[in-house]
Amino acid sequence: MNETAIKPRIEKVPLREQVLQKLPVLLVPILALLGLAAIGNPASWLTLTVAGLAMGMMIFIMASGLTVVFGLMDVINFGHGAFVTVGAFVGFTVLAWLAGWTASPSVMLNLAAVLIAILAAMGVTGLLGYAFERVIVMPVYGEHLKQILVTMGGLIVAQQMIHVVWGPDELHISRPEAFQGSVVFGEAAIEKYRLVAVAIGLALFLAMRHVLKNTKVGLLVRAGVENGEMVEALGYRIRRLFLIVFMTGSALAGLGGVMWGLYQETITAHMGSEIMVLVFIVVIIGGLGSVEGCFIGALLVGLLANYTAFLAPKVALISTIALMVVILMWRPQGLYPVVKAK
C-alpha cells in the first residue's frame, strides 16, 4: 500500500467562511439587539424577548417534525396543522377532566395534570399520524402535486371531525395555578408560563440533537435525509424509519398544540391552520429538512413577531413574511440548505 498516495486533505476553512457558516446562529442575538435598539426600554424589551423566545420554541416544536419528514422522504404534509389542533383539543379535554388537580394549589398536582394532558395529546396525535401516513400519504409518494392536494384534503376532514367530536365552539381553559402569574426581574414582568415554554422547547431541541447525533436511529435519519437509497442498500427499511419519524413529528405537533393552547387559553378548530402559516415560514427560513435551521428560524420569527407586535401591531405577520423574503434573497435554500445526493 502506497502511503504517500493518500495525503490528508482536511483543508483549513478560511476565517471568512467560518464566520459565514456561524452567521445564521448569530442572527438571533443580532435580531435581539436590533430589537433593543428599536424598543429602547430594557424592561419591555426583556418581556418581549422572553415572549418571543417562548413563541419561537413552541413553533419549533410544531415545525421540527414537518421539516424532518420532508428531509427524509420529500413529503410535505399540509395537514400537519391538524395534529396541532387535535393535540390542543385532547389536552384541553384531559385538563378539563382533571380540573380538580389544575385548580389545586399543589404544584405537583398541577404538573401531573399537565403531564397527563401532554401524554394523552401526544399519544392521540402520534396514532393519528400513523393513520395519516398509511391512508393519506403512502399512496402518493413521489408525487408532490397529489401530496399537497391529498394532505390538504386530510386537513379539511380532520378539521371537520374536530367539529363533530368537540362541537363548533372554541374552548377556554385556565392555566394551572402553578403556571399563572409572572416573575419580576427588575422592572420587567415575565409570565411564568413563558419561561416554562422556553425550558421545554430548549430541552426538546437538545434532546433532538442528542438523538440525531448519538443514536443509531438518529444517524439513520441523517443518513436518510442525504441518501435514502444508500440507507436501504445497507439493509435498513427506510419506510419503517419514516413511519416512526412521521409519528414522532405528529406527536410533537400535538405537544406544541397543548402548549400553544395553554399559552392562549383558548383554542379553535382553526388554530392549527393559522399556526401553520408561521410553521411554513419557519421551515422555509431554516432550509427544508434542517432541524438546526428550523430552530433558528423559529426563534427569529418568534422574536420578530413579538417586537413588531409591540412597535407596529398591524404589520406583525407581514414582518415575518418580509424576514422570509430577506433570508431567501440571501440564501435561496434557507439558512441551512440540506445536502441531497442525486
Binding site: 500500500m1 444517524l219 439513520l220 441523517r222 442525504e226 436501504e232 442498500a233 445497507l234 445536502v339
Partner: protein, 241 residues
C-alpha cells in the same frame, strides 16, 4: 469456482419511458471477480441497481444463492449478503467516517478484528476515523465506500467503477485492496472501464452493449485473444483505449 452465486435470466428494466435492460443473461460464479465491461449507456449501472432492487425488473428472473430475489425489497436483498458500492459512492457526507462505518455494520456492533484488517487495507479509514466524511478526498471517499461494503462478511459485492476519476496511485491501492479481498470468501461483480485494472483482477468477464450481455468468457481468454479483444474493445472500451 464452479458454483453459481448469482444469475440473471432475461432481465428487462424500464426507467420511466426508457427501456434500458433488454434481456440481460448473466452468470456470476461463486468466488473470484466477474468484470462487467461496456461503453457508457450500455446498462452496466442499471444491471447493478436492478440486482440491488433499487430499480425493479419488469421481466425476467434474478437468483441469488438459488433463491429468487427479483421482487424483494432492497433491504431484504442487502440482508441476504449483497453489498453495493454505487458509482457516486453513496457516502453520507454529513456523518463522520466512524458513523458511516457504524451504519454499514447493520447486524450489530463493528467487529474489531475486521475493522483493523480494513484499516490495513485502507489506512485513511483509520487516519480520518473521527473526521466528517464530507471532508475526505475523492479517493478516500471511494475507499470508505468499499470499506463500508466489507465491514461485515458479505457473499457478494457489487462495485460500480471504483477507479473513476482517481489518480493512478490510488487506482493501484484500490486494485491491491480488491485483490486481497478476493482471498476472502467474497465474490465481486465489478463494473470497470479501466481494462488494465479489470484484467489484473478479473476472473471472468461479461461485455454489455445496448442493454444485453453480448459476450462472456474467462478473463484469460480475453487477455490472450487479441482479435476478440479488438472486436469487443471497439464496442466497449472506446472511451478508454
Amino acid at each position: 469456482m464452479s458454483d453459481i452465486l448469482l444469475s440473471l435470466a432475461g432481465v428487462h428494466t424500464l426507467i420511466g419511458p426508457y427501456h434500458i435492460l433488454q434481456g440481460v443473461d448473466l452468470v456470476v460464479p461463486e468466488g473470484g471477480v466477474t468484470v462487467l465491461l461496456g461503453r457508457n449507456g450500455a446498462g452496466k449501472t442499471t444491471t447493478l441497481r436492478t440486482i440491488m432492487g433499487l430499480w425493479s425488473a419488469s421481466q425476467g428472473e434474478i437468483r441469488f444463492d438459488d433463491h429468487l430475489i427479483t421482487t424483494l425489497d432492497t433491504p431484504d436483498i442487502s440482508r441476504r449478503g449483497i453489498a453495493y458500492v454505487p458509482e457516486d459512492m453513496g457516502i453520507f457526507t454529513d456523518l463522520t467516517v466512524a458513523e458511516n462505518m457504524a451504519l454499514a455494520a447493520s447486524s450489530g456492533p463493528i467487529d474489531g478484528k475486521r475493522l483493523s484488517w480494513i484499516k490495513e487495507l485502507f489506512p485513511p479509514i483509520g487516519t480520518f476515523w473521527e473526521a466528517s466524511a464530507g471532508t475526505l478526498s475523492g479517493g478516500q471517499k471511494q475507499m470508505l465506500s468499499v470499506a463500508r461494503a466489507i465491514i461485515e462478511p458479505r457473499r457478494l459485492i457489487l462495485i460500480d467503477e471504483p477507479t473513476k476519476g482517481l489518480a493512478p496511485a490510488i487506482i493501484n491501492a484500490m486494485t491491491e485492496a480488491l485483490r486481497e479481498l478476493k482471498q476472502t470468501d467474497t465474490t465481486i461483480l465489478l463494473v470497470e472501464q479501466n481494462f488494465a485494472m479489470a484484467s489484473a483482477i478479473g476472473d471472468t468477464v461479461a461485455v454489455m452493449d445496448d442493454g444485453r450481455i453480448i459476450h462472456s468468457a474467462p478473463m484469460s481468454e480475453l487477455v490472450e485473444d487479441e482479435g476478440l479483444q479488438e472486436r469487443l474493445m471497439g464496442l466497449s472500451l472506446e472511451a478508454h483505449q
